[in-house]
Amino acid sequence: MRSEIKVFLFLIVCLLAGEWGTRWVEPELSKDVEHLEGLEAMAQRLEPRGKSNVLVLGNSLARCGLDQGLLSEGWRLPSGGAAQVEVLTPDASGIVDWGQGFRRYVVETGSRPEVVVVGTGRVHLNDPMEVQSERLAAWLVPKDERWAFVKDQKWGMEEAIPFWLASWSRLFANRERIEPLVFYRLVPGYEETSRLINHERGVAMAGRSGGKELGAVTTRHLQRLIDDVAKVGARLVVVTMPVPEVYEMPREAVEMLKANGVLLIEGGSKMTMEAGRFPDGYHLDGEGARRFTTWLTGSLNASFGDTDRR
């Protein structure tokens, strides 16, 4: 067995070198990692009270579709100040990521935003959801809540093992980021092709999750986020982001938000944009973001004004 032991030792050395190398180049791996690495600093900026802090939870829909400058300028918060907008918008994230990220970077750090805005699409607030357990483990789930999280998710071995591996190893946590990094730079047409194929998958998934009912996973996590936001004394606003096809939120989600006194602004069904505003077929461009944010700040000011008057 001696020569096979050497083979194994060699592989272990390779893995250790990979782990070290990944930790070294981690922030360069993708904009998403850069964003995730910056969440601790974001939490610190949110800490001081009385600064009219707004935290936006969402994904690339919210990142591309909200013009932060316009939102800051145009939205007059109940406290009277201009909104200081911070974002927690990892790529392809959903309600599970936002809820856990909120716990880790807001509830646990003592940060106190005045308002929390969730910018979502329909599929990000509906079962079945694709959960990136590696990202959750490495960046979003509070460290001392990992066991409870895994237990709560009722995960089998296939989901739980990658979660634990990613919580220990940056190489494992980032392994899916290396492929796009290489292919986006070196493979001609890869970006367009992966977008096309992701769109096809999205259509297929939307077909599978086309029901109006909210799934059990979403219900649990949405309720928990509502409770956590209330716990830190912030107000929650859910905004549905425009995509090329007009959509409505799942009926149960709407009822749940109403029952908890959450303001819902349905941009996904009320704010229609021409196809040219979605250059990649899914996300708003700069002009689209400006138009949507202007419309949104109008709605927010009206709604918050109404609420204050009440």
Binding site: M1, F172, P188, E200
Partner: protein
């Protein structure tokens, strides 16, 4: 419980630990229990079917061996064939033929809508374990295998988990003696060979097959419709599928061989670098070897093989391949796939052989490229969801308009990135003339090779994991 899952790693670790401390008889009992558990993880409801098949073939084998009378022996053999074919017929083909019958009757106006549909669940690996069970009875009848007296051993022969749901389809005279007799311990050689098979198998499945799957799916099930594709995209999509199915199935077989090797079993090689075949005949001596030799021994030769003249040989080849196609599933596209291969085997046999065997490297290279493309044409029918789709794709291939679109560029690049290094490695193995040539190299060479496999597995996982294709057969 897929082979490339964490659940399987945990399951196999427990299997090995307990297996290591038991004696031979208890090992067989333990492996049988584990095999039933493994199958039960797919669908416990069909465990009864395996137990029934096992019991019936065990009794049949004993009855055939015990009787001196040709009539009695033949009666038991017939019963065995009828029972196994009935199981296959009901679970795999009944729904299909009922639908087809309805279509036919409707054509004559004898029945009306709604169509007759039977939604029968297909047990995982049904075609594999029924063929394996059937071969045992036939072998006992022919006197090629001694009927076993141990039900546990026979049950393990049928249900041995590494090869239960997707082969290789083992023969009784190869696997059964290994079950019955004490097996060799896990020494360095066995560990080394097993490791090679398991690592290369996972690589072929996860890196090659799954990374090709999302590319080929775009051509065969893209939501944009076929009208948006051009000929080059279809060609590259078919290439992607050719390597997807090769990586998927040969990967599964490799893992099965490796895992069995660690447990002391030698399973047969199921693939031997099939895309290096220089003729259709050679392709079938390299692709799904356990099925092609099964069909040869239990169908082609009993039909008369090549002993009854030119035309009957051709007929036998066609019948064998058509049924081989149907074995894959209840669909006319599978039959067409089998028919195409049958046709090429016949043509190769009667046209090419008259010209003599090829000589010279360029003729071999030409034969390789030609065979690969004939095989790809077959894959187009195999993967197509209907004849209509296959026809449309063929039309696009012939229509020209071969433009380098983003998809075409991506597909070509990823074929080069994922597949080309593996093909180069296989070319080296082919030239070395030994399936396990790598294992004869110094440890550092093996370690670097495994390091590359590991790097690819870790850093280039497929965007969308896919199931093993052959489980559905």
């Amino acid at each position: 419980m897929w082979f490339n899952s964490f659940s399987f790693i945990a399951f196999f670790a427990v299997v090995c630990v307990v297996h290591g401390v038991l004696g031979h008889r208890l090992r067989n009992l333990w492996l049988l229990g584990c095999s039933y558990f493994f199958y039960g993880c797919w669908d416990w409801r069909f465990l009864g079917l395996i137990v029934f098949t096992t019991t019936f073939e065990f009794v049949s084998g004993r009855a055939i061996a015990a009787s001196e009378s040709v009539k009695v022996r033949r009666r038991w053999l017939t019963a065995s064939v009828v029972v196994e074919m009935s199981i296959l017929g009901v679970f795999k083909y009944l729904g299909f033929f009922v639908t087809e019958l309805h279509q036919l009757l409707r054509l004559f106006g004898w029945v009306e809508e709604p169509s007759w549909t039977l939604n029968i669940l297909l047990p995982a690996g049904l075609s594999f374990f029924t063929f394996q069970a059937l071969s045992y009875t036939v072998d006992v009848y022919r006197g090629q295998t001694k009927a076993t007296g141990s039900f546990t051993d026979f049950a393990l022969f049928i249900a041995f988990f590494p090869q239960l749901v997707a082969g290789p389809i083992e023969r009784s005279n190869h696997l059964l003696p290994q079950v019955e007799n004490p097996r060799p311990p896990l020494d360095e050689r066995r560990f080394r060979i097993g490791l090679y098979h398991v690592l290369t198998g996972i690589f072929k499945k996860v890196v090659i097959a799954d990374n090709m799957a999302w590319l080929s799916n775009h051509v065969f099930q893209g939501s944009g419709g076929l009208g948006e594709l051009n000929g080059l995209e279809v060609l590259l999509g078919v290439y992607a599928f050719a390597f997807q199915i090769y990586g998927d199935f040969s990967g599964y077989s490799s893992i099965a061989v490796g895992v069995a090797m660690w447990l002391g079993f030698d399973l047969m090689e199921n693939f031997r670098r099939p895309y290096f075949a220089t003729s259709p005949t050679e392709f079938w001596s390299r692709w799904h070897i356990s099925l092609s030799t099964w069909l040869r021994d239990y169908l082609y030769i009993p039909l008369g093989g090549n002993r009854m003249g030119r035309w009957k040989t051709g007929r036998n080849l066609m019948v064998t391949m058509l049924l081989g196609g149907l074995w894959h599933g209840a669909s006319w596209t599978y039959v067409a796939w089998g028919g195409l291969h049958g046709l090429w085997l016949v043509v190769h046999r009667f046209v090419m052989r008259e010209r003599g065997s090829r000589q010279g490297w360029w003729k071999a290279a030409l034969g390789m490229v030609g065979t690969f493309h004939l095989v790809c044409l077959g894959w187009l029918f195999f993967r197509a969801e209907s004849f209509g789709q296959a026809g449309q794709l063929l039309g696009l291939l012939g229509a020209g308009g071969w433009v380098w679109t983003p998809y075409a560029m991506t597909c070509a690049s990823l074929l080069m990135f994922f597949v080309l290094p593996w093909v180069a490695y296989e070319a080296w193995v082919e030239l070395a003339g030994s399936d396990l040539a790598l294992l004869e190299k110094p440890w550092l060479v093996r370690a670097c090779f495994y390091g590359w496999l590991l790097l690819m597995l870790l850093c280039f996982p497929p965007p969308v994991p896919s199931e093993f294709i052959y489980f559905q057969f």
